[in-house]
């Protein structure tokens, strides 16, 4: 494996099994999937610092469990599943902290973070779209992002989210309508 070529998942897994080459294999794995997983998380939590923390936790979990990963399964799907679960858990914990602080709206903090982002401009459509996405419920937000940005097939999404294809299609369609309504009203 070299740094310029993208290693095959099976090769990464085989290299990871060897204790002597485990760290090298892991580094290759991170290089291959870091951007996809990072943006998947970032679109959910907005803040780079939060996304960075969650992403590192994801890869620590990957390190601890990759040895038991079944080779016949899809590594990409497995990584997305871990990243999604870590992100949703993190967001749930944030909501609990917000509720303790007597805030009425758990999405207020994400909306505030969005407005604090460098280059934020409420008049620009790309930022309005992000505001619309942040108004969605968490799981629907995941569905929307995985389909709209990551172009993930519903069958794969079903394995990531452990939900039926039909439910995911319905969720995505509703999410699209909500986002449209938000853009029209703002």
């Amino acid at each position: 494996m070299t740094h310029t070529t993208i290693p095959d998942d099976q090769l990464i897994l085989a290299t990871f099994q060897n204790e002597k080459t485990r760290e090298f294999a892991f580094t290759q794995l991170v290089r291959k999937y870091q951007q996809k997983l990072y943006w998947h998380i970032r679109r959910m939590v907005v803040s780079h610092d939060d996304a960075n923390d969650i992403l590192q936790n994801v890869f620590i979990r990957v390190w601890n469990n990759l040895g038991q990963f079944r080779k016949e399964a899809n590594l990409y799907t497995w990584l997305y599943r871990i990243a999604t679960n870590e992100t949703l858990t993190w967001m749930e914990n944030q909501k609990k902290r917000v509720s303790i602080s007597l805030s009425n709206d758990e999405n207020t903090s994400l909306a505030n973070k969005l407005e604090a982002e460098k280059g934020f401009d409420a008049n620009r459509i790309e930022w309005k779209l992000q505001q619309a996405i942040q108004s969605l419920p968490d799981k629907q937000k995941v569905v929307f992002n995985l389909r709209y940005y990551d172009e993930m097939p519903y069958e794969e999404m079903s394995k990531v989210l452990d939900t039926s294809v039909g439910a995911l299609k319905a969720s995505y369609h509703h999410a699209v309508k909500k986002v449209e309504a938000f853009l029209l009203s703002h």
Binding site: E23, F26, T27, V30, R31, Q34, Q35, Y38, W39, R42, R43, V46, H48, L55, Q56, F59, I60, W63, N64, E117, K118, G119, R124, I125, E126, W127, L129, Q130, R147, Y148, Y149, D150, E151, M152, P153, H173, V176, K177, V179, E180, L183, L184
Partner: protein, 183 residues
């Protein structure tokens, strides 16, 4: 991954206004972030693994069931030792209790007598101490610690001088008492 057009086609089939929008995420990330991230994550992963090992503490192994069997083993050893060297038994009998009762009574009597003696001595000791003080010291103390309202007739004597050698009249006494608020 499916072709980008399939996403656009799906949105078109829904009649969505999102069809024509750019799907570029506007968030900013540092230029070298992804370049350094793998090494940073590897370092953190190894650190987390080490922390996990350290937090588990004692690396030594203990035989299975060791702590479950230990109490019984100890009891067996103690019982064996007692069989080998039985402890001496000292019998008190009835006489020793009688002696203890007499001794306790004597101790109580002595304690009560000593206490009474101490009490009597303490009452006299205060008077004895006062009696041993020189008269001048007592007078000086009384004069120095007298309050402003505590004006004894002796002050009148001191201030008026001549009264020191004359008797106070009833009228003067009454006047004094009026001034001091005693009537």
């Amino acid at each position: 991954m499916i072709h980008e057009n399939e996403i656009v086609q799906e949105l078109e089939s829904m009649g969505s206004t999102l069809t024509g929008l750019s799907r570029k995420t506007p968030y900013v990330v540092a230029n070298d972030y992804f370049k350094v991230l793998p090494e940073a994550i590897l370092a953190k992963t190894i650190e987390a693994s080490l922390a996990d090992v350290i937090s588990k503490g004692n690396p030594f192994e203990v035989p299975t069931g060791y702590f479950d069997q230990l109490p019984q083993q100890l009891l067996s050893k103690v019982a064996f030792q007692q069989e080998q060297h039985p402890p001496k038994v000292i019998s008190f009998g009835n006489n020793i209790w009688k002696s203890i009762r007499w001794a306790a009574a004597a101790v109580l009597l002595l304690t009560a007598g000593f206490g009474t003696l101490q009490m009597l001595n303490s009452e006299n000791s205060v008077e004895q101490k006062l009696a041993s003080l020189p008269a001048d010291a007592v007078i000086e103390y009384v004069q120095d610690n007298r309050s402003g309202f505590d004006v004894a007739p002796a002050d009148l004597v001191l201030e008026t001088g001549h009264l020191a050698t004359t008797q106070l009249t009833e009228e003067e006494i009454t006047l004094y008492l009026d001034e001091m608020g005693w009537q």
